[in-house]
Each structure stands twice: as C-alpha cells, then as structure tokens.
Amino acid sequence: MSSSWRTLDRGILHDIALVCLADAVVGASFGAIAVGGGLPAWVPITLSLLVFAGGSQFAAVGVLLAGGGPLAAVATGLVLNTRLLPLGFAVADVLGGGPWWKKLVGAHLLTDESAAFALQHQDPRRRRAVFWLCGVALFLCWNLAVALGALVGSAIGDTAALGLDAAFPAVLLALLLPLLDRRSTRDAALIGAAAALLATPFLPPGLPVLLALVGLAPAIRRTTATTKEAR
C-alpha cells in the first residue's frame, strides 16, 4: 500500500485536512452537548467509537435528551444511517479483495466524507488510498474531538442558562442546509416536521420524529409512478 500513498497530491491532503477540522468542531459540539444535557461522558465517547456516524449520533442523543426511550433512539439513528447502504454499494470495489479483516475495518470507516472523496477518483489504487486516508484521519479526529468536547461539557454548570439547548438544533440546522437544496426534499421535510410537531403533545418522546417519515409518502408515490411508466 505504501506506493499508493505517493499517488496522493497535496491538494487532496489539504482537502482531507479541512474536512477533518470541520468535523472535529462538530464532534466537539456533540460531546459537549451530550454531556451538558446530562448524559455520562462514556455515552458520547463510545457512540463515536462504535457508531462513528455523526448525524445518527446527534439524532440518538437528541431523542434521549428529549426523554425518548432507547428503542426510539436506536430506530431514529438507524433510519438516518440507511444512506450508508447505497454508499457501501457505491464504494464496494474499494473494499473488495484483500483479507476479510481489512474489509471489516474498511466498512467501519465508511462515511459520507470518505465515500465522497473516494468517488472523485477513477483509478482504483488512488481511490483506495484516498478512502483509507480520509477514513482513518476522520476516525482519529472525530473521536479525539468528541472526547475533548465531553470533557469540556462536564465542566459546564447550568446548561440552560448558557443556552446550550439552542446549540443542538443550531448544529443540526447548519449541517442540514446543504441537504435541502432540492425542492422535493424540502417539501417532504416540511410535511414530516409538521407531523412531528402536531404529534408531540400526544405521543411519547422520540416517536414524533419517527412519525416524520410520513413526509416520504409523496416521494414513494412519485417513484412508484415513474417505475410503472418505465415499464
């Protein structure tokens, strides 16, 4: 593998470093918010090591901090991570071949970022090198940042007085904006959010967020309609 590292130019290294830095800031906020909200520090730290998918970590902790049960937290996190399924198929060639343990480690390093970097390249060797470099660098930065954030979070006293409960939705909003550039996605998200808000007074915490998946109904009808037409 050492020869394939040399195929990486400085532009890619620079880009990967920037992404690591940005994710480290998000990770530190995740650690601080989770601990500031009342969870013990081992929760955000083990979540980061074992789940290693920022969006679902935020979602699971958000559901728990809102008083939701463990099942709702796991379900929300897993639905969010379903996008890893098509991503895994997209980069399957990167992880193909080689010993089985390498496939297992590589799969754990699959993230939006490592997949996006790898898919920018056509040459299989380059692709593999970029995927592994980005994956390992992100894993290290993300977990260090989360642990650091958790330490800082446990030093914070009155989280409500500091407005930390507003920090969590603000993080979500900043992360979400790029995902909402398509009108159909925005519409589905608005329907889902309205359903979740309307259900909040009546359902146990955690479930209203899952109910938001009704926002997908128009998208399901649309795609089945186009599939029929194609036939």
Binding site: V51, A73, V74, V79, L84, L85, L104, A166, T200
Partner: protein, 102 residues
C-alpha cells in the same frame, strides 16, 4: 442511556455499512429505493430540528430557544463558519434568559 442502546445502534449501523462490500456481486439496489433512502435522512433531521427547537416534553419550549436557533439559522444561511453559528445561537438564548425571557 443503557449500553444496549449504543451497541444496538452500532451493530445496525455496521451491518448497513458492510452490506455493500459483502453483497455487491449478488445484489443491486433498485434506483427508487436509493432515491427514497437519500430523502429519508433530511426528513428525519428536519423533524428532529423542529421538535428540538420548539418543544420540551409534551409542550412548547418557550421563546428563548427558538429565537437563538433562528439567529443561528440566519448566520448559517449567510455561510458564516460553523462555530460562529453555534455560539451565536447559544449566546442569544442565554442572553434572552438573562433578561427574563423563558
């Protein structure tokens, strides 16, 4: 949170990650399923955003928190750096609470 929650989420997530590399020769995802999965994530996150901003338990969270999130949102739309967005949101909420706004 029990360790079970962390382990269940971790195991499920790993299975989703490994499915592609493990089954790529035998399985192909239908295009409309891929499309649906790509919309599911923002839908859930926006719902989480809405409920985390506006609700506390079964009721309204008060005005201070949504006001802070709104300030963060405006800064995010204007493409200010991520830390600025988050700190501004928290600071706005904290200031409003200091002034007696719940």
């Amino acid at each position: 949170m029990p360790l079970f929650t962390v382990l269940a989420l971790a195991a499920g997530t790993f299975a989703l990650r490994l499915a592609g590399p493990a089954f790529r020769d035998r399985l192909r995802l239908p295009a409309h399923l891929q499309e649906l999965l790509s919309v599911a994530a923002p839908v859930l996150l926006v719902a989480l955003l809405a409920t985390a901003t506006l609700t506390e338990g079964h009721g309204f969270a008060g005005w201070a928190r949504p006001a802070g999130v709104l300030v963060g949102g405006v800064l995010a739309v204007r493409r200010l750096p991520f830390p600025v967005v988050v700190v501004a949101a928290a600071a706005t909420t904290a200031l409003l609470r200091l002034c007696g706004v719940a």
